[in-house]
C-alpha cells in the first residue's frame, strides 16, 4: 500500500470535515477498498474510517420503513432485519463469507456499486432511499452505472431507508468462488406495484426489469414472466457466463424469486 494518514472520527460532522481534504477517502468495512489499495489501484492520502460513528450503525423500524445505518455490517443486518424485513436479512446473510459479513457494510457496498454486489439489488428492488450527509437520494436516481453513483466528492451515505414490501425475495446465482452474484434478482411486491431489480448481469450495473414489473403487477406468479424475454445485448460476458446465459438467468431467477415470495 502507498502511505496514507488514518483518522477515525466519532461523528458524521467530523467525518465530513476530514473528507473535505484533498486525497481523502472514506473507509467503511474495507473488504473491497483495502485489497484495492494493496493492488495500488487506489492511493488515498487520508483514510477516514467510518467504523467509529455510532449514529451510523443499527437497524430500526421508522415511519418510512426500515432504517439501516450505513455503517451497519452485513451480519448485523442479517440478524436484526430478520423479523422486520426477512428478504433483506436473507440477502445480507448470503454475501461472501462470515469474515466479509462481519466487516462489510451496506453503505460501503452502495458507495462502491460493484456490478455484481447484492445490496444494489435489494436497495433498487425495495425502492429504498439513500440518505447522505447532504440529501436524500431515491434508489432510481442513485445507481448510475458500474461503480458509478450519484454521490459527490466527500459525500457520505449515512443511512438507507427501506420501504417494507408485502412480500419480497432475493434469488442469487452464486459465482461459487467469490459468492458475488453471477446474476441476482430482487423481487418486491407492494400493495399497488411490483419492483424487480437485477444485479450481476448488466454492463450498466444494477437495473430494473420493467417488463417483468408490469407483467407481475397484473399477475404476481412465476407464470407471468414465462412469455417474456431478456435481450442478451448489454449483458456482461466473461468466462463464468456468456451474455445469453446471464440474460436467461435473469428470467429464471425472477420466476424463482416470485415463487419464493408466495
Amino acid at each position: 500500500m502507498h502511505n496514507f494518514d488514518f483518522v477515525k472520527p466519532a461523528t458524521i460532522a467530523d467525518a465530513v470535515k476530514a473528507l473535505a481534504k484533498d486525497g481523502a477517502q472514506a473507509l467503511s468495512g474495507g473488504q473491497t477498498l483495502i485489497p484495492t489499495m494493496k493492488q495500488r489501484l487506489a492511493e488515498p492520502d487520508v483514510l477516514v474510517s467510518l467504523t467509529g460513528i455510532a449514529e451510523m450503525k443499527g437497524v430500526c423500524p421508522s415511519a418510512e420503513g426500515l432504517a439501516v445505518g450505513a455503517a451497519t455490517t452485513h451480519s448485523v443486518v442479517a440478524r436484526d432485519a430478520a423479523k422486520p424485513y426477512p428478504a433483506l436479512a436473507a440477502l445480507a446473510a448470503g454475501i461472501g463469507d462470515p469474515a466479509v459479513r462481519n466487516r462489510g457494510t451496506v453503505g460501503g457496498s452502495l458507495a462502491n456499486n460493484d456490478p455484481a454486489a447484492c445490496y444494489p439489488a435489494g436497495v433498487l428492488g425495495s425502492g429504498a432511499t439513500v440518505v447522505t450527509n447532504k440529501r436524500k437520494i431515491a434508489a432510481d436516481d442513485y445507481f448510475q452505472g458500474m461503480f458509478t453513483t450519484a454521490l459527490e466528492d466527500g459525500e457520505i451515505i449515512t443511512q438507507v431507508l427501506f420501504p417494507v414490501p408485502q412480500k419480497a425475495a432475493y434469488m442469487k446465482f452464486n459465482q461459487p468462488a467469490s459468492r458475488f452474484a453471477l446474476t441476482g434478482v430482487f423481487v418486491a411486491k407492494f400493495a399497488d406495484h411490483v419492483r424487480v431489480a437485477v444485479t450481476g448481469a448488466s454492463e450498466g450495473g444494477v437495473f430494473r426489469w420493467k417488463e417483468a414489473e408490469a407483467a407481475l403487477g397484473k399477475d404476481f406468479s412465476a407464470k407471468a414472466v414465462e412469455g417474456l424475454t431478456v435481450p442478451a445485448k448489454g449483458m456482461l460476458s466473461d468466462l463464468h457466463g456468456t451474455a445469453a446465459y446471464r440474460a436467461n438467468l435473469v428470467k429464471v431467477l425472477t420466476a424463482r424469486a416470485v415463487s419464493a415470495c408466495a
Binding site: 500500500m1 502507498h2 502511505n3 496514507f4 494518514d5 488514518f6 477515525k8 473507509l27 474495507g30 473488504q31 483495502i34 485489497p35 494493496k38 483514510l47 474510517s49 467504523t51 455490517t73 451480519s75 461472501g96 463469507d97 462470515p98 469474515a99 466479509v100 462481519n102 466487516r103 468462488a177 467469490s178 459468492r179
Partner: protein, 162 residues
C-alpha cells in the same frame, strides 16, 4: 505520516503497540506482537489463513487496519490452548488428521472456534457454510468438517457435565 499508538487486548492480555497507518492487523500481530499463528495467504480476504476474532466477530486480519484495533478485544490461535492443554478443536484436528501442510490450520481453528462460540450445536451444513471463507488445498475439507463437528459435540458434553 505519523505513527499511531494503539491499546488493545490480545488473548486476554493488554497489548499496546505503535504502528504505521498502512499496517494491517495481521502485520501488527505478526511483526509487532510476535504472534505468527495467523498467516498471510492471499492478503485480499479470499483464503482465511489470517482469521482472527475481533470483538467476538470473525474477521480477516489482512483486511483490517491495525489502527482500527484501538480498544478492541482480539483472539488469535495462540489463545486457544490452555497452557500445555490443547483446545478440543486442536485435539480433534489431530485425531481426525484434519490437516496436511498446516498453513490454513490456524485460520480454520479460529473460524471454527468463532462458529462454536455463536452456535454450539452446528449442523454439517452450517459448518460448511461457516468455513466457506477458509481455503484448504490439501485435505478436501471432509476431515476438517468432521473434526469441527466432533469437537463441538465434545464441548457440549463437557458443558453439560459441568
Amino acid at each position: 505520516m505519523s505513527k499511531i499508538t494503539v491499546s488493545a487486548t490480545v488473548n486476554g492480555d493488554a497489548a499496546d503497540f505503535v504502528c504505521d497507518a498502512t499496517e494491517t492487523l495481521l502485520d501488527v500481530l505478526r511483526d509487532r506482537l510476535g504472534l505468527t499463528g495467523a498467516k498471510e495467504g492471499c492478503g485480499t480476504g479470499d483464503c482465511g489463513a489470517c482469521s482472527v476474532i475481533l470483538n467476538d466477530r470473525l474477521v480477516c486480519a489482512c483486511l483490517v487496519l491495525g489502527a482500527e484495533a484501538q480498544g478492541a478485544k482480539i483472539e488469535t490461535v495462540e489463545g486457544l490452548a490452555n497452557g500445555e492443554t490443547l483446545h478440543p478443536l486442536q485435539r480433534k484436528f489431530i485425531e481426525h488428521a484434519a490437516l496436511q501442510c498446516g498453513v490454513c490450520t490456524p485460520g480454520f481453528l479460529v473460524a471454527a472456534k468463532s462458529l462454536i462460540d455463536h452456535n454450539p450445536d452446528p449442523t454439517e451444513e452450517q459448518v460448511r457454510y461457516w468455513l466457506a471463507g477458509n481455503l484448504c488445498r490439501c485435505t478436501g475439507y471432509d476431515k476438517i468438517v468432521r473434526a469441527v463437528l466432533d469437537a463441538a459435540a465434545e464441548m457440549r458434553e463437557a458443558n453439560h457435565a459441568a
